[in-house]
């Protein structure tokens, strides 16, 4: 157990920040939920640690666990109470440079359905291929391509100033 804890602890230390960023995007921009999601994912990884380490599939497994947990959580009604709202509350302070951009992207991501958001994050943030994304989400490659196209179209519509991309 000590060996497992030591190795898993090293993995946690080296990957937690990166995982939280992916989780943040999967959640549609909520650092608290992202951290919860990372904790849930890491707990599941701990259970399967010997096997996934032996298979050399730690990253693939963690991605799969995280993305499925994110989609599951998004389906739970209570989460909607805490999800990012379209209209931010009024504030008198001037946001730091870059924060407005962040809010826009966050807001746009939050408007995507969880499944589409997961496809966009895996394809364009995690740089997975269509095949790898399909495996991670347990969907067909055709579904991934169509979800990806729809997700990008929605982001393009909401954010306007970036070029869309197809799956090729």
């Amino acid at each position: 157990m000590q060996d497992r804890d030591a190795e898993f602890g090293e993995f946690l230390d080296s990957r937690a920040v990166v995982m939280r960023r992916t989780a943040y995007l999967l959640c549609g921009g909520d650092w608290h939920r992202a951290e919860d999601l990372v904790q849930t994912t890491l707990t599941k990884i701990y259970v399967a640690w010997p096997k996934i380490r032996r298979d050399g599939s730690v990253d693939a497994y963690s991605r799969k666990i995280m993305v499925r947990a994110a989609i599951d959580e998004s389906r739970r009604a209570y989460r909607r109470r805490e999800s990012v709202v379209d209209t931010l509350p009024e504030t008198n302070s001037t946001p730091p440079v870059g924060v407005e951009d962040a809010v826009d992207v966050r807001r746009a991501l939050a408007q995507l359905p969880a499944g589409q958001r997961a496809v966009v994050v895996l394809r364009y943030w995690e740089d997975l291929s269509v095949t790898e994304t399909a495996q991670a989400l347990g969907k067909s490659e055709g579904t991934i391509k169509s979800q990806s196209a729809k997700g990008l179209a929605t982001l393009r519509k909401l954010l306007g100033d970036f070029a869309g991309a197809g799956d090729g």
Partner: protein
């Protein structure tokens, strides 16, 4: 194009707060989840374990048995389950050094060490067997930790069994417990300790290698075959060499840090 989207997504991270994830809390939650899963699994596999024991499958029923009891069964027809080969030499006597309590936690440690060994890292997929309780883990049986799995490498299939138990004071590996049914046995000392290595071949085509080492008060035995439990259950006749060679078994029993305590 993808880079543009990635750049866009990265804009969402402005004002990223510091990570508050607590390593100890994650480990604690992981251990708790692991315990719960094992508890739930224990009920599910009981029937399978009982069936394995009643069926006198591999690794059971050896305590106190005479060497003749370990003779391979008579050849059977090609239909039905293939006969089991010899078993690992599990504990035969009791003594002070054999009273070390075996714990689930230490079984996990052994599992980690097994997975960390270069032999296991270098081979293909391992899969659980019914006789192994349908789990890729060391089971606690007859005062020994016992691991059993089917193995598939690029071009071979078979199974691996490993047992770890307390050795008596002054015990050294020898061919004495391996006389029968193994058809040849030698003791190799090239690793600096005596390592007994034996071979068994059945008329049905099954071939097994067994390697036994004793060090630091621990007896470690590893047995590999050219017949996986799946094919054994189907009654298939194997051919070729066991899935691991003797050199790999020697590495496993001598260098993997498998100790009873």
């Amino acid at each position: 194009m993808s880079d543009d989207i990635k750049d866009l997504l990265s804009r969402a991270f402005e004002a990223e707060p510091p990570l508050r994830l607590n390593r100890d809390e994650v480990l604690k939650a992981g251990r708790k989840r692991l315990r719960r899963r094992r508890f739930l699994e224990a009920g599910g596999v009981t029937a399978a374990v009982v069936a394995a024991v009643v069926g006198a499958s591999l690794l059971t029923g050896l305590v106190g048995s005479a060497p003749e009891d370990r003779m391979p069964p008579a050849a059977s027809s090609s239909t039905g389950r293939a006969p089991a080969g010899p078993d690992l030499p599990l504990p035969q006597t009791t003594g002070p050094s054999r009273n070390t309590p075996l714990t689930r936690e230490h079984a996990d440690t052994l599992m980690d060490r097994l997975y960390a060994s270069s032999v296991i890292k270098g081979i293909g997929a391992l899969s659980a067997t019914q006789a192994g309780g349908n789990q890729l883990t060391f089971a606690i049986r007859s005062n020994a930790y016992v691991f059993e799995a089917d193995i598939a490498t690029g071009n071979r299939e078979g199974s691996l069994q490993v047992s770890v138990e307390a050795a008596g004071a002054g015990d050294v590996a020898s061919c004495e417990p391996l006389d029968r049914p193994f058809d040849d046995c030698t003791v190799d000392t090239s690793t600096g300790i005596p390592v007994a290595m034996a071979t068994w071949t059945s008329s049905e085509g099954e071939k097994q290698y067994l390697v036994l080492a004793i060090q630091d008060g621990t007896k470690v035995a590893a047995l590999t075959t050219n017949l996986s439990s799946v094919y054994r259950d189907k009654g298939q006749r194997p051919s070729g060499e066991p899935v691991l060679d003797k050199g790999q078994l020697v590495k496993l029993v001598v260098y993997s840090g498998l100790r009873v305590r």
